[in-house]
Symmetry: C2
Subunit: 492 residues, 2 copies
Amino acid sequence: MPPPNSPAAVVATTVVAEAVDAARAAAPLLAREPLPVRAGRLRAAADALDTHGIEVVALAATETHLGSARLTGELARTTAQLRLFADAVEEGSFLDIAVDHADPRAAPVARPDIRRMMRPIGPVAVFAASNFPLAFSVAGGDTASALAAGCPVVVKAHEGHPRLSDLVGRVLAGALPAGAVTVLHGRAAGRGLVSDPAVRAVGFTGSEAGGRALFDLASGRSDPIPFYGELGSVNPVIVTPAAVASRGASVAAGYVASYTLGLGQFCTKPGLLFLPSGHGLESALVDAVRAVTPGPLLGEWIRVGFDEAAAALAGLDGVRPLVPPTAGSGITAAPALLAMSAARFRAQPAAARECFGPASLIVEYDDPAELLAALATVPGSLTATVHAEPGRDGDLVGALLDAAAERAGRVVFNGWPTGVAVTWAMHHGGPWPATTAPLHTSVGVAAIRRFLRPVAYQDVPAELLPEALRDGNPLGLPRRVDGILDTVAYAG
Amino acid sequence: MPPPNSPAAVVATTVVAEAVDAARAAAPLLAREPLPVRAGRLRAAADALDTHGIEVVALAATETHLGSARLTGELARTTAQLRLFADAVEEGSFLDIAVDHADPRAAPVARPDIRRMMRPIGPVAVFAASNFPLAFSVAGGDTASALAAGCPVVVKAHEGHPRLSDLVGRVLAGALPAGAVTVLHGRAAGRGLVSDPAVRAVGFTGSEAGGRALFDLASGRSDPIPFYGELGSVNPVIVTPAAVASRGASVAAGYVASYTLGLGQFCTKPGLLFLPSGHGLESALVDAVRAVTPGPLLGEWIRVGFDEAAAALAGLDGVRPLVPPTAGSGITAAPALLAMSAARFRAQPAAARECFGPASLIVEYDDPAELLAALATVPGSLTATVHAEPGRDGDLVGALLDAAAERAGRVVFNGWPTGVAVTWAMHHGGPWPATTAPLHTSVGVAAIRRFLRPVAYQDVPAELLPEALRDGNPLGLPRRVDGILDTVAYAG
């Protein structure tokens, strides 16, 4: 980034102030709109993206090299996400309403009337990701969940797809009130956003280094604000001896397909494969890797980073390069596969570092105790996958599922972690460094909660209460009344 | 605190390691226990406190000077809180369960089976408060909510009541599994806890300076952890011209009673009173303050801090000392009341700083526009109170309630903020500096959420799933199934 007084930094400051002012002006309007209107805005945004779909996908393909099939699917996911969030807004449980009527006989002291609901937290800064130019970018999950919460958004576009970001920003601007979504460019603008007094929360998807720097900026403010960062994840896959014995070949093929999918440019890419020593799958794995065609990464900066990370991994003590990393050129990369013993893995924390791109490390364990000890050193991850045979692995399966749940936000059984369904139950998060906020998800309906804060109203007369809190439940929302959940209005 | 290599620091390190090891050992046991067993533990803790009630209250009175009537009430609140959390554990909605069955026809892609629930976050450090030696201390709200979440707790006792802390710690230890609650003393131990790799979250109640230092420590870890700090709050009270006209005398009396209750040693003590210029309540206010008997504060350190803060407030530009602060001695303090214009208030941020103890500032506004502008400079607060006459204040009431909700976690209407009901709907939180985590509450059932993190299970066979997530809802818990809330099991 430029030094503080350079012309670029001055321009960024002005631009940030304008964007944040627009967001601040929009905030009370968005917060006030009835839920059906808010839901309608999300659907209008989805419709507008569909209308411009061909143009959007074509520009995305030019800037990201991801291919129009993948991008068409990603656009469908992006609009489906906006529409699911519209449904969630109308359903209303995100408001987390609780009504406790006054109780003059309560012990130890009489209680006033207390009614709580969630309110939008205020303007949100969103940092777009490189690897999902639609679903985690200008119109992506962070933006959709902030809008669903009733918050305006200022997006810091990813430098990997600037023109696409502007196009999507224009499409959204045409469908939403002024100031609801604004797109900015450049690192100085990004840092300015995180520091701006009017910005009340940040959503971020990107690298551990970049996320850490911005998390520190948000936490170091004179008024710290919540920073929801999805950073790096190694997504371990654990295979038991019984799973190797019963279906080793399909596990090998599935693993290679998962870690090379999209050339490994997914946050859920499995980076560690725990196999029992003497697994006998080496040639199957190597053959599968050799069969993967080298392809274009998102950009040259990704390729350079991948080469460096893969070379660092290959240079660790005790690494056996099954398919050695090859220095690429331009934007093309070929997959790599390495192996080491669990003992060496435990001794070298760098072996568990995320390598963004098509490289993976096999960790070979001698017995369950060594496997569990090695797992205990794996950093917090978005996912942890267990391949096992419940009938034949005995108590080991339960212990592995517990270990997986201890270190990851999603536990996958006999499957693969790549692919994240956008649903009510999804959790896409996990302990540091997978995220900066282990209580929250960046995918699925619960993502809306990140941009809401509770307010309780005490003894406020009915006519002055938000409608959602009034007796008789005039908006038909799910609520907890005097401790009892009441879902009659919409479940009936 | 002692320098890093002093004997005291070395002792603290050893003691912290032992306490955290005990908590770490207890964590999986507590996490695994069935919900009715966990609820039973909370009730056993409450029963044990009741059994030792006379001894506990007597020691608390000796160490805090709060008086046995108040402390008996606080003990009742503390045990009622443990029992309410036991009820909440059995009710089970804190698990936030969602089940999305596999959907092979989902658009844009087929969906696996995904089931989410909350799991305990792990060992929790709790920093006890001085002003609630029972309800916000060793057996207080943070401890109760962590235990309800299934997390072991290491408490850093407040130096204001060390023997009481040890007594309550022993009472809890007799009722709970080993390692569930441990009590430590001293600042070095506190800092050691926040830095300990096994500690996964922190609950804190105390000063803005102390809370900020520990928040920075938690956020600056190589693996940052959530820090739930309740810091300082000025709790503005806003009175409209119509409220002055219709019941000015009772507002004046009520305000003085609220800010001098317990000699102002409450986090919800109102510190700012917004009155229309020419309100004519000055003599009523002054008479009420003069009628308050000076009394003992929690300790000399509180009195010294109060004297300094009150003198600083009195020294600001344009202050009229209605009842000037008087330098106290020992632990005795007398109430003070100051006044200034809204214009001077807006120009001096120091006028909105919390003064812990029986001092308060009247801010006099000329018109609604000036009132709203002044409110916009009030820092985030736990509460904001509006005294108005809905029939006669017109649109002003709505604007004031909105401004209150914008800046506070609880909006009180025609009442007083002191006193916090422990219920399902309560929110005791707010924007910085009221708290470090505006999404969360430290009082009420929702406080449990601070110590839980979600885990989603993908395609895990029924017999390996946590019972709470299995089809047929064998535990009878509230759940969201395929998007629809299902409360039949317990609401029927």
